[in-house]
């Protein structure tokens, strides 16, 4: 695709802008900013990726992965500020997810050890892990608050922090992973996944595109469950002190 053709595709931005103006939806400013940001961010990423692919140097791949993890931590931590040390818990979770998934993919030779595979797959895995973290932290912090009575009841009867937090923790893990599992049930029926569509448009064999998409689906399932469970089990001990008392959440 040339820049001229890309310019023509801006018609799809003009349509919502005109509609918003006509119907007084007040979306013009946000839509405009979103478009500009998307253009700048994606073009920048495109140039950076081109540079990294050409350089064929693991240091640059490593740097890209660090950048992806850093941005994901920065985004997800806002939802868990009431949990002590949430930043490091997120770093540990994302690094573990990255090592686990890439370890299996590269270790078993499922994908080649090149920037072309490592970076986009890392982006998808960490991006999904970030969304899962946000869903989990949102649910977990609200569960802790709404079930405080039950948590204290179990502590008051001589239960351990793990026993006291069990129900809020399990229910938060389940709730945060449901969207991933549910969306995978209808995949291909309602819509073709973005990555697969992109590959087909770029001229790849549809069966190859499907196989790669299936790989991503399997990866995202692992990512979803491991992220929520790991973040949950890393987070709950910091909600209590050594006297097994439920601590007040940190001020936001």
């Amino acid at each position: 695709m040339s820049f001229l053709l890309l310019g023509l595709s801006l018609i799809f931005v003009l349509i919502p802008l005109i509609l918003s103006k006509t119907l007084n939806l007040g979306l013009e400013k946000d839509a405009f900013v979103a478009t500009i940001r998307a253009i700048i961010q994606l073009l920048a990423v495109g140039y950076i990726l081109q540079f990294v692919f050409d350089a064929e140097n693991f240091f640059y791949i490593f740097l890209m992965v660090i950048l992806i993890i850093g941005a994901a931590v920065q985004n997800a931590r806002k939802k868990g500020v009431s949990i002590r040390g949430i930043t490091w818990k997120l770093v540990v979770t994302f690094v573990f997810i990255e090592v686990l998934t890439q370890g299996i993919l590269l270790g078993l030779n499922i994908t080649p050890a090149t920037a072309q595979y490592i970076i986009p797959i890392s982006g998808m895995v960490i991006g999904n892990s970030m969304v899962l973290s946000i869903l989990f932290l949102n649910r977990f912090t609200s569960e802790i608050e709404t079930r405080e009575d039950e948590t204290e009841l179990i502590l008051s009867l001589g239960g351990t922090p793990k026993q006291a937090i069990h129900r809020p923790l399990i229910s938060s893990i389940q709730a945060s992973t449901i969207p991933t599992i549910e969306s995978q049930k209808t995949i291909g029926l309602v819509q073709l996944p973005g990555m697969m569509s992109g590959q087909i448009i770029a001229g790849a064999d549809p069966l190859q595109a499907v196989m790669f998409q299936l790989l991503i689906i399997f990866l995202l399932l692992t990512t979803a469950v491991v992220t929520s469970a790991m973040l949950g089990f890393l987070s709950y001990p910091t909600l209590f002190n050594e006297r097994m008392q439920l601590l007040k959440p940190e001020k936001k």
């Binding site: 006297r243 097994m244 008392q245």
Partner: protein
């Protein structure tokens, strides 16, 4: 209060703050062993906070609490909470049957509750055995309070803390719980500390009383002190509650 009996719980210059607000200030006093002591005072006096300190759900900022003459901090949290049981006003039930609620303390220890324990406890609180298989969410307020007390009693705590357990109950249920409190004290020799707003209950059931106001212990002694309090603030409170 004359110290002719041993102290089950002793407070020595205890302070407690929450979010920068002083909840308890310089609490010094004791609760006699194997007796029923009531805690009375207006809302916000710090009575529930005092109970939470005794059960180890929170710790004092300064001062010391002694349980059976041992510093509270020297007890393992689980050991302390089994020794000092608490039944809260909310009488929160975990989802499931009454039996499941009664078995909770055993379950938390990874043990199975003996069948006759459930039966003994449900009978003790004046409910028949058919209640054991009822869903806890279908219980009335009074029944829930009774199950909550039974659930706390399952582990045979030496000290039982009851937090306003009759405040939302009708007169008949109140009387049943009052009789139950006396029965528990007589049957097991359990030390009972009971928060109540009802001065009649404090006078008829409690042998001793603590009067708390604004986070302070303002008067303490035999329950009869409520008939003729010395402290002017207590006089006003008693007059207000009696009207």
């Amino acid at each position: 209060m004359t110290k002719d009996t041993q102290a089950a719980i002793q407070f020595s210059h205890v302070d407690y703050q929450s979010d920068g607000t002083e909840i308890l200030h310089n609490i010094t006093g004791w609760f006699p062993k194997k007796r029923i002591t009531t805690l009375v005072g207006p809302s916000g006096a710090g009575k529930t906070t005092l109970f939470r300190l005794c059960n180890g759900l929170i710790s004092p900022d300064s001062g010391e609490i002694y349980i059976d003459d041992k510093k509270i901090s020297s007890y393992e949290p689980v050991e302390l909470r089994r020794k000092v049981g608490i039944a809260l006003q909310s009488a929160k039930m975990v989802p499931g049957t009454v039996r499941k609620n009664l078995a909770l303390s055993f379950e938390l220890q990874g043990k199975e509750m003996p069948i006759d324990t459930a039966e003994e406890m449900i009978r003790l609180v004046g409910l028949d055995e058919s209640f054991l298989d009822r869903n806890a969410k279908d219980l009335s307020g009074g029944q829930r309070q009774k199950v909550s007390i039974a659930r706390t009693l399952v582990m045979k705590p030496e000290i039982l803390l009851l937090d306003e357990i009759t405040s939302s109950l009708d007169r008949v249920s109140q009387q049943e719980i009052e009789e139950l409190i006396v029965k528990i004290n007589e049957t097991y020799g359990t030390t009972i500390m009971w928060i109540t707003h009802n001065l009649r209950q404090a006078l008829s059931i409690g042998e001793y009383t603590w009067v708390m106001m604004d986070g302070e212990l303002v008067e303490t002694g035999e329950s009869s002190l409520l008939k003729e309090p010395q402290n002017a603030r207590v006089q006003t409170f008693v007059k207000g509650e009696s009207e």
